[in-house]
């Protein structure tokens, strides 16, 4: 399965490239753009990134595997991230993590069969004063209770 960037995304990569004196420095932005387009990072995606930026493939692999936010397998349409670090834990983060695991019947980094939902137990997201919190894709939901979580999850389509 080959992967090609869209014209628009190629332009975004060119824009990112201008920020830095080296092509390698644009690899993180490019991985983000690739994840936007493809949903996750595959070997083909990394090969395409290497050729677009003109850098060695292993350097793309090196960055893609170090940073945890680049998905190396398909995730759900709604990727639910639950913080269980100390400040969230003190205010019920683990109860919410348990609630979400049970609701969808999947474990950490699991995806539901219909591909709609994936869940992840994450480290501190920087919302400690508004704990407990979850993030769904790019959006934060803070000051949660079990009821509020149920309500938010109910709106996911």
């Amino acid at each position: 399965m080959s992967f090609k960037f869209t014209e628009e995304n190629l332009n975004r990569i060119q824009e990112s490239r201008k920020k830095y004196p080296t092509a390698l420095a644009a690899v993180m932005d490019t991985l983000w753009i690739a994840q936007d387009q493809n949903g996750y990072i595959t070997n083909e995606v990394m090969e395409e990134i290497a050729s677009v930026l003109g850098i060695d493939k292993v350097l793309v692999l090196s960055a893609a595997t170090f940073y945890t936010m680049y998905h190396k397998k398909p995730m759900g349409k709604h990727h639910i991230q639950v913080c269980t670090n100390v400040s969230c834990m003190l205010r019920g983060g683990y109860e919410i993590w348990k609630q979400i695991k049970e609701k969808y019947g999947i474990d950490n980094l699991g995806v539901t069969d219909d591909g709609q939902i994936s869940i992840e137990e994450v480290e501190c997201m920087g919302a400690c004063g508004y704990a407990p919190m979850i993030a769904i894709n790019e959006d934060y939901y803070e000051d949660l209770t079990k009821e509020k979580v149920e309500e938010i999850l109910g709106t996911l389509k």
Partner: protein
């Protein structure tokens, strides 16, 4: 209590560029550009501004390390990786006062002679990256950043500011790891020396400052260093964005002068503990800092020197409060799990030690630990501390070491008092004395 706001002023819509300008925005930059870089560094030095990212190092002194005459390009990195558990202050700056951060970046670039600045923002902060990018686009459009600055400010100096988006790695808040990350590499910390001021981004002179530190700069230039030096405590002046979380009634970020009483912060500012419960533990500066026992809080002030005296550190001023019902062991195990997850894996003591400590703590939770395990934890922590390239090792070791030191009585409940020698050893030693020599020979 003084109601002084430097970084987060109570002005409606100050995040919009028009409001920022009409409230005197970018005047400090203009004032700065009419002086020499040396004069700016001098003022920031005299103001006493100390880094807000954890080490509380003098910002002006750090800037003065940058070489004056060099052919190499110089860089500024603004550290907004903000991943320390308990810290959630920089996002307030991105959201509520981004232009002051931009103005501070301009002044800092001018002072150190940098033409390019990167604001590193953690990948999880999608929303705040967008807000910051919007602010930056507006500032570019109005000619406050980039080559148009020359016209706007009537100077020869100009600089560009870019946002670098992280992708989930706590370690990238460490300055040398942050630079590797900007270069597109794995976020591995670098061995120091050479220090960033000599050999930073792409081998060029580089300064790295925290978001909150930079956001203070315009007001120091605008109001003068004497004004700033008189706010809060003398050795650590200014205000701090205190982030309070955990068991308090009103958690959140509060901007207050340095040196306020920790108890005042918890009880008056954050509204005390729910149900008026007693406090068992407080971590005053983000999860890496040594925790304080409930009976150690009286009289402790929130500034670098006082907290050091109290046996902890200011860190990022992320205060985590835990009430009397908190399970200290579970908290410690959770903190250790974090460092185990975030260790970059370069140095053996940290990579292996964090996992070892986590396993031992989990053994305690499961009820299979012996009293030896507490000493083992301290021994492993001692062998991590000071033996790694970066401070993540220390950050993983301190909570374990100091929690055991300060909560030993409580933790002793989780361990069995003595170790019985495993039975097969005894059988083996008996055979040695009862079986005639040569019987087992083939």
């Amino acid at each position: 209590m003084e109601n002084i706001r430097i970084v987060l002023p109570e002005i409606e819509n100050i995040h919009e560029i028009e409001t920022y300008i009409s409230n005197g925005g970018f005047k400090a930059a203009k004032k700065a550009f009419s002086q020499t870089p040396g004069e700016i560094i001098d003022q920031v030095k005299k103001s006493g501004l100390r880094g807000r990212g954890g080490a509380a190092f003098s910002a002006g002194l750090k800037w003065s390390f940058m070489p004056k005459s060099t052919d190499k390009p110089k860089y500024l990195c603004v550290n907004g990786d903000e991943s320390e558990p308990g810290s959630f202050k920089d996002r307030e700056v991105f959201e509520k006062n981004p232009h002051q951060l931009i103005e501070g970046t301009l002044i800092t670039c001018y002072a150190i002679g940098a033409k390019t600045a990167y604001i590193y923002i953690r990948g999880e902060y999608h929303k705040w990256i967008k807000l910051m990018q919007k602010a930056l686009d507006d500032a570019y459009a109005k000619g406050f950043v980039g080559e148009k600055m020359k016209e706007t400010f009537g100077t020869d100096f100009y600089c560009d500011i870019y946002i670098h988006k992280g992708a989930g790695a706590y370690i990238c808040g460490e300055e040398s790891s942050l630079m590797n990350s900007i270069e597109g590499k794995r976020g591995y910390p670098r061995v120091k020396p050479p220090f960033p001021a000599q050999n930073g981004l792409w081998g060029n002179p580089t300064t790295i400052n925290n978001v909150e530190t930079i956001a203070n700069v315009p007001k120091i230039i605008e109001n003068g260093w004497e004004w700033y030096a008189n706010i809060g405590v003398q050795k650590h002046p200014g205000t701090i964005l205190y982030g309070i979380s955990g068991h308090v009634n009103k958690p959140g970020v509060y901007e207050l002068p340095t040196g306020i009483l920790l108890t005042e912060l918890i009880f008056d500012v954050a509204g005390g503990v729910p149900g008026n419960k007693k406090i068992k533990m407080v971590i005053p500066g983000g999860s890496s800092m040594p925790p304080l026992r409930g009976d150690q809080l009286e009289g402790v002030r929130m500034d670098a020197e006082s907290l050091k005296e109290a046996g902890s550190a200011i860190g990022t001023a992320g205060v985590m409060v835990m009430d009397e019902d908190t399970d200290i062991l579970k908290v410690l195990a959770r903190i250790t799990k974090f460092y185990y997850h975030e260790s970059c894996g370069q140095c053996t003591p940290c990579r292996e030690g964090t996992g070892w400590m986590l396993k031992t703590l989990n053994r305690m939770i499961e009820g299979n630990a012996t009293s030896r395990d507490l000493d083992l934890l301290i021994e492993v922590a001692n062998n991590i501390e000071g033996n790694t390239i970066c401070a993540l090792g220390d950050a993983a070791a301190w909570p374990v070491k100091f929690t055991i030191q300060r909560f030993r009585d409580e933790l002793e409940q989780y361990v069995k008092p003595e170790v019985e020698l495993p039975i097969y050893n005894k059988v083996h030693s008996m055979r040695e004395t009862t079986v005639p020599l040569g019987v087992n020979k083939r």
